[in-house]
């Protein structure tokens, strides 16, 4: 019990003190995961919509692959990206290993399947009521994709935030690809892992509380936003 009490006290102290390292770590976490989310959205939204609408024979294998990719362990992705980005690897010339760019690359790979799979589901559901009308208008798959993505835009906000939550909470990929370098690739999750391994549990727990609060706040905002915007329309 005293451990929990100590940690709670430590957490509060940290947050109130506005420690600058803590600020740096938090900013980097948000920057890396937010950028990865945006890039993953650019790929995942159209990909998910296409899979939902296409009648090509590729559809079923694609759906299976997408759903399987949801379960890819971050640490495996981290290892694969590490080997890709190593100077001795195929993409070594980019020089992204042990940098935030490499971390963004790895997290993008991690969350694109999430965005694509959720988008696919959302677009498929919205397509049901509109399919016959689209056919009567002679609409191509591409036009349907555009229209449906706009149609489900409020749900897509929630998809984005779910993906962001997943990215900012993972440790396996960013640890291996970033190297947890003090002052340049250290993020909240890798710091928690580090402090725990050093036996500094109160600090680790404090960071954990901060991270969870961040994710909760982001999700609460998403929920409020979605319900408010939808209420205007439905």
């Amino acid at each position: 019990m005293s451990l929990i009490g100590e940690s709670a006290a430590a957490a509060l102290q940290l947050l109130l003190a506005g420690d600058s390292t803590l600020g740096e770590i938090t900013r980097l976490s948000i920057a890396v995961s937010a950028t990865a989310t945006l890039v993953a959205a650019v790929i995942g939204f159209p990909l998910g919509a296409w899979v939902a609408l296409t009648r090509s024979r590729l559809r079923s294998p694609f759906v299976v692959c997408l759903n399987a990719a949801l379960g890819l362990p971050p640490v495996v992705i981290g290892l694969a990206v590490y080997l890709l980005l190593s100077r001795s690897g195929p993409l070594g010339a980019l020089g992204w290993l042990f940098t935030p760019l490499g971390m963004i690359f790895a997290q993008t790979i991690l969350i694109t399947p999430i965005i694509a799979a959720l988008t696919r589901q959302t677009v498929e559901d919205a397509h049901v009521d509109l399919r016959d009308w689209f056919t009567s208008l002679g609409m191509s798959t591409w036009s349907r994709m555009q229209t449906l993505l706009v149609e489900v835009r409020f749900s897509l906000v929630v998809v984005l935030l779910a993906a962001f939550g997943r990215a900012i909470a993972e440790v396996g990929a960013v640890m291996i690809v970033g190297g947890n370098i003090a002052g340049s690739t250290r993020v909240m999750t890798t710091t928690i892992a580090l402090e725990t391994s050093k036996g500094d549990l109160p600090l680790a727990l404090a960071l954990g509380v901060l991270l969870v609060s961040l994710v909760l706040t982001v999700n609460a905002c998403a929920y409020v936003l979605k319900t408010k915007l939808e209420a205007r329309h439905d």
């Binding site: 016959d132 609409m139 229209t147 149609e151 329309h233």
Partner: protein, 233 residues
């Protein structure tokens, strides 16, 4: 001498089967430009299927169909498909889909709203409209496209009598622009008001295909008589 103009919709010995069930069997039908045709029949007789085949939304299992190109058609569903945008934007959507650019796009959209008496709703989210208003929106979209062929599948089935009459008025206005009209309904009074010609379906086959006045006064088939009695009771 009869003018040799091709019919706007032509079905030759068309059948439609799905999952082993035959919904339509050996159907042949010609509709000339400007006609007002109503398809009648009991539930499950195949009315919606026949209508969608006429539109070219469904592919037949057998037989040939020639129909007006999709760009010259408009289809009204029993439950209108509404997008999550304003009423005006819903109309502008179908126009932009036909590559009509501003300012003509907005101008035609506003005109369509005037015709359907939806102008006061222009900026409102379309999903907040009542069922009748949404169906009028669907018709506004149809009107805006200036279709040669208007198809409607039980367009007033879920509407109040007042709303239904509003919808009928707009349908007649579309027809007045020279469009051909094919629709299905359960409402015999409506059929009597609007039809020039009745196509009666029973068990997936066309059993009667006659001018409306003849059909209602002297139905030839037992199925039709049975249907008319049932509906008027």
């Amino acid at each position: 001498m009869t003018e040799l103009i091709a019919p706007i919709v032509s079905l030759r010995r068309v059948s439609f089967r799905v999952s082993g069930k035959t919904l339509l069997e050996d159907v042949s039908l010609d509709v000339q430009a400007g006609e007002r045709v109503v398809i009648l029949g009991a539930n499950g007789a195949g009315k919606s299927t026949l209508l969608k085949l006429c539109a070219g939304i469904l592919e037949p299992s057998a037989g040939e169909i020639s129909s007006a190109p999709l760009r010259e058609q408009a289809f009204i569903f029993q439950r209108p498909a509404i997008l999550r945008r304003s009423v005006l934007d819903n109309v502008r959507y179908v126009l932009r889909n036909r590559s009509i650019s501003e300012p003509e796009c907005s101008a035609r959209a506003r005109l369509a709203l005037e015709v359907t008496e939806l102008t006061s709703f222009a900026q409102q989210p379309a999903k907040t409209l009542s069922g009748g208003e949404q169906q009028r929106l669907a018709l506004a979209r149809a009107w805006a496209c200036q279709p040669r062929l208007l198809l409607a599948d039980e367009p007033t089935a879920s509407l109040s009598p007042a709303a239904a009459r509003e919808v009928e008025r707009i349908i007649q206005a579309v027809h007045a622009t020279g469009a051909t009209l094919i629709f299905t309904t359960h409402n015999l009074a409506q059929a009597k008001r609007l039809a020039q010609r009745i196509v009666f379906l029973d068990g997936g086959r066309i059993v009667e295909d006659r001018p409306a006045s003849e059909f209602f006064s002297a139905p030839q088939s037992g199925a039709a008589r049975h249907y008319l009695e049932g509906e008027t009771l």
